[in-house]
């Protein structure tokens, strides 16, 4: 059976059913998920959508009721225990609830996954210490987890998951208990490992900023199913599902801005030659070029009310709301011509933008 080796993770038709007081609960419902080597794959969704359950299937901590789990070309469910353990050593995991060992120091916890390895005690400790430095906890090396703050515990869990230099890292809300600055540092660390060592990362998060700043691809889960997936840039700029739209909006201020603008400017009252337009542009199309094209080519004057540039997976994504003034025909032509350049436009005059559908 020739598996596509470029997919380091390949979940096929996964179903996980829990029996909750009699009635069945489909926590994961017929999910297919392929993740390429070196990818950083985000998973988002409502609380209780099945995200944790799904990622726990990847290293078989959760046996699926149905489906195939192929990691690194190996069908994990078919593996002998010894082989499964070997496979698991290559899959680091950061748990939502940390799961640190209370009987070991912080250093001891990070050392744990290295205990079986054939390296000297000193090497092991050095390695663990290096990781602790990376997460900013070297001072706490000899402290026991119970004496750490929530965020400190989480960072220990991160260091531990990285200790074995895994090929795949599963992170279940690994930054939820961290302040923004520490979160940034941790994300940079993950990104670096991804860049330098090709670490594949599967990342559950509730912070859209996290998805935008490090993920390449993202899947949106709802009631056990993946309802939308694709590159982060695509999903975040052109969400297809209501749920996705809701999530995306929480991270841009577009919807709030439109609300505020339409509250002060009555779009009905605009003169005939003016329109309130929402522009959304990705990549090379910068605000500058849009504006110059509009004004120079089509003799259209613009009045910017809102302009924001976001960086999504390294690409610039712009949002702009402006009042455009000009003749109807060149104006429509202008908007049409912008489309091939990756600029999406929407006339807000009465018609709500997608994000406003709620």
């Amino acid at each position: 059976m020739a598996e596509d080796i470029s997919n380091v993770i390949d979940l096929q038709d996964i179903r996980v059913t829990f029996k909750n007081s009699g009635k069945d609960l489909k926590a994961v419902d017929d999910v297919n998920l392929k993740i390429k080597k070196g990818d950083i794959y985000g998973i988002i969704g409502y609380s209780g959508a099945g995200k944790s359950t799904l990622v726990r299937v990847i290293n078989l901590l959760q046996q699926p009721s149905e489906g195939k789990v192929i990691v690194n070309g190996q069908d994990l469910r078919e593996l002998k225990p010894v082989k499964l353990r070997e496979a698991r050593q290559k899959i680091g995991m950061i748990f939502q609830h940390f799961n640190l060992m209370k009987s070991r120091t912080v250093l001891g916890n990070v050392e744990y996954p290295l205990l079986g390895k054939k390296i000297s005690k000193q090497e092991r400790q050095e390695k663990a210490l290096t990781l602790l430095k990376r997460v900013g906890l070297e001072e706490y090396a000899n402290t026991y987890p119970q004496r750490l703050s929530g965020g400190q515990k989480q960072r220990v869990a991160i260091a531990r998951a990285l200790a074995t230099e895994p090929e795949v890292l599963i992170s279940d809300e690994a930054t939820s208990a961290l302040d923004p600055k520490t979160t940034k540092a941790i994300l940079e660390l993950l990104k670096k490992l991804n860049d330098e060592l090709g670490l594949t990362i599967v990342l559950i998060t509730h912070e859209m900023q996290v998805i935008k700043s490090i993920c390449h691809n993202v899947a949106v889960m709802d009631e056990g199913r993946i309802i939308e997936r694709g590159t982060v840039a695509k999903v975040f700029t052109d969400p297809q599902e209501k749920l996705t739209t809701d999530f995306v909006e929480t991270s841009t201020n577009v919807k709030a801005a439109i609300d505020r603008i339409t509250a002060t400017i009555n779009v009905e009252d605009l003169p005939d030659n003016q329109e309130l337009v929402y522009f959304n542009f990705i990549g090379n199309a910068t605000k500058q070029s849009i504006l110059s094209e509009l004004s120079q080519t089509y003799h259209v004057a613009e009045n910017i009310l809102f302009a924001n540039i976001d960086q999504i997976d390294g690409e610039n994504v712009g949002y702009m709301i402006a009042i455009i003034e000009g003749e109807l025909v060149p104006f429509n032509k202008a908007l049409e011509d912008l489309r091939p350049h990756g600029v999406k436009t929407q006339i807000l005059s009465g018609v709500p933008v997608k994000g406003d559908e709620a």
């Binding site: 070997e86 050593q89 748990f95 640190l100 209370k102 009987s103």
Partner: protein
């Protein structure tokens, strides 16, 4: 003064010293081996039970039944039933050393149950974390169960050693000697109350010592956590 309070005791100082040694020998001699057997059995019970890391219904059910079976035998009958084994292992069925065999057999299933209960309290999430890191069952046993459960294991060990001290007092039946024997077959049976009293005081001191030292160790272990 003492002469009046404990007339019989004074005449048998030597016996008391020896009996104390015998009790210590029986208690700790059997404790060490029972600890090994009990830990082994307790761990096997935990890992093979439903939901355990090496879940195995049959093995669990057999071990569980053996544990109950051994716990069902009244000690005095155990002494008799076990005597061929004792003869084989020790070369005699009577005496202090011979008593180690029934003491071990009498206490280790009890200890195994206690260990099982103690290990059940180890956080399941931590076991999962170890599994996710590819730890083998042996590694999980030694590096997680026995380590995370250490404080609880120590606590049940204290309970067990004290129970064991109680058990040694019954081993007089096979000539084990010891403080219990002095208290019962000399002091109690002969109505030499001072002997009973002093023997019990010494037992008490042993029990307290076990509890206090045990508590200190538990504290040291937990202090860190």
């Amino acid at each position: 003064m003492l002469q009046k309070l404990i007339p019989n005791v004074l005449q048998m100082k030597g016996e008391f010293v020896q009996a104390t040694w015998e009790t210590l020998y029986m208690t700790f001699g059997s404790a060490i081996i029972a600890a090994v057997l009990g830990l082994l059995l307790g761990v096997c019970l935990v890992i093979t039970q439903p939901g355990g890391i090496l879940e195995d219904g049959l093995t669990y059910s057999v071990l569980d039944k053996i544990t109950n079976l051994l716990r069902s035998i009244p000690f005095i009958i155990l002494l008799a039933v076990i005597s061929p084994l004792t003869q084989f292992l020790i070369g005699t069925t009577v005496g202090t050393t011979a008593s180690l065999v029934p003491l071990i057999v009498g206490i280790f299933p009890f200890y195994a149950r206690q260990v099982q209960n103690a290990l059940l309290d180890v956080d399941h999430g931590v076991i999962e974390a170890a599994q996710s890191m590819g730890s083998s069952p042996t590694e999980i046993i030694f590096r997680v169960y026995l380590r995370e459960g250490l404080a609880d294991i120590l606590r049940v060990s204290i309970v067990t050693v004290i129970s064991l001290i109680g058990l040694t007092t019954m081993a007089g039946a096979i000539g084990s000697g010891g403080l219990g024997d002095v208290a019962i077959s000399i002091g109690y049976a002969r109505f030499e109350n001072d002997v009973t009293f002093v023997a019990m005081i010494i037992i008490l001191i042993l029990v307290f010592a076990v509890q206090i030292i045990g508590d200190l160790i538990v504290k040291a272990v937990e202090h860190n956590e």
